[in-house]
């Protein structure tokens, strides 16, 4: 999914910060890191519960990377 579609420039509703469009390359890179972490998890999930558990941490880190910089508090 193209993050430009999910986060159209100038969105004012929701919790997206304008920094998203000021640093769109970084935002996009973080999005790709999330896709990579999720892809890895789908591979690890078939190997067993412990492997799945280990693969969830990087997903959280990838989620948090954007939420820390690009999302308003509630």
């Amino acid at each position: 999914v193209d993050p430009k579609v999910l986060f159209p420039e100038g969105s004012v509703e929701g919790r997206a910060l304008p920094a998203i469009w000021e640093n769109f390359d970084d935002f996009n890179a973080k999005h790709e890191a999330l896709v990579a972490a999720a892809t890895t998890m789908t591979e690890e999930a078939g190997k067993g519960l412990d492997q799945l558990k280990a693969a969830i941490g990087p997903i959280g880190a990838a989620c948090g990377a954007c939420h820390e910089l690009y999302r308003k508090p509630e």
Partner: protein
């Protein structure tokens, strides 16, 4: 004649008022003798450093891993009273606090007073840190000099008149500072958590609303507040609003994961980065404290 007397009385009252202001707003300070008998515990010093989240404000914006120990300052903190810039508190002797004695550090942390007796702005959360034990303050003062020196000069705060009158902070302290626990009665298993929340991690500084003078409304402890930097709100985390289990809370402190499959954002992500490194038992006690604070109506 009557007029002159009235003027004289007014002048006398004015002088008395100034005198009272001068006395009442004097900085409270400890001397080196007051901490002479306290031996610093370096392990504890690192614990206090992490629990108090020093890096969250004093490391550079976006710092990670080893850079979290480089406390060159520079982060900006907007407020209704002006913009504060985190100072360099690395051991650099010129631009940091390398020349400060241990009691200087203890006074800054627990009394909000810098070397020479100047009131510090409460952007440094000494309202909370004032509740830490002297042993912890001394241990932290001994830990800070072990960190790398950074030579970035501190940026002066951008705080306009009248808030830049340091002496008036003495009055602010009289009005708003207390060493008493906000939540006086908690179960024994929440006492460590109370110490972490109210003294070290200074949760209330963001999660509790403030009055017009910037004092915490302790009657609405942890009830949430507007984000001082202007975007959105810091959430209400009282029982009734925060419905996560104790285990959910511990997981959140450690990983930033919420039970709703969300993650901590903004400044809370910084908090998790340091708070989450504390022993699990202490984080569990912190969770229990959050269950013990007065609930949302």
């Amino acid at each position: 004649m009557r007029m002159r007397r009235a003027v004289a009385v007014l002048v006398a009252l004015g002088l008395a008022g100034l005198g009272a202001f001068w006395v009442l707003t004097r900085p409270t300070m400890l001397s080196a003798d007051d901490i002479a008998g306290i031996g610093p515990d370096p392990v504890r010093g690192e614990y206090v450093f992490r629990a108090a989240g020093c890096s969250s404000c004093h490391a550079a914006d976006g710092a990670r891993d080893a850079d979290l120990l480089r406390l060159g300052g520079g982060k900006a903190f907007a407020s209704p009273f002006g913009t504060f810039y985190a100072p360099n508190i690395s051991p650099d002797p010129v631009n940091g606090i390398g020349t400060w004695t241990p009691v200087d550090v203890v006074n800054a942390l627990t009394n909000g007073v810098g070397p020479g007796g100047r009131h510090l702005f409460p952007a440094l959360p000494y309202g909370s840190y004032g509740k830490m034990t002297l042993e912890d303050a001394v241990s932290l003062a001994a830990y800070l000099p072990t960190l790398p020196a950074v030579d970035t000069p501190s940026r002066p705060h951008d705080v306009p008149f009248p808030f830049n009158i340091r002496r008036s902070l003495g009055g602010w302290k009289l009005l708003f500072l207390s060493r008493d626990w906000v939540v006086p009665a908690v179960p024994p298993e929440a006492e460590t958590g109370r110490y972490i929340a109210e003294a070290l991690a200074h949760c209330g500084e963001c999660h509790t609303p403030r009055n017009a003078l910037g004092g915490l409304k302790t009657g609405q402890w942890l009830a949430g507040a507007p984000n001082p930097s202007g975007e959105g709100n810091i959430p209400d985390i009282r029982p009734g609003k925060l419905t996560w289990s104790e285990a959910d809370l511990v997981t959140f402190f450690q990983s930033g994961f919420t039970p709703e499959f969300d993650t901590a954002g903004g400044n809370m992500a910084e908090v998790v980065r340091s708070l989450g490194t504390l022993p699990e038992d202490d984080l569990l006690s912190l969770a229990r404290y959050l269950k013990a604070v007065p609930a949302a109506p």
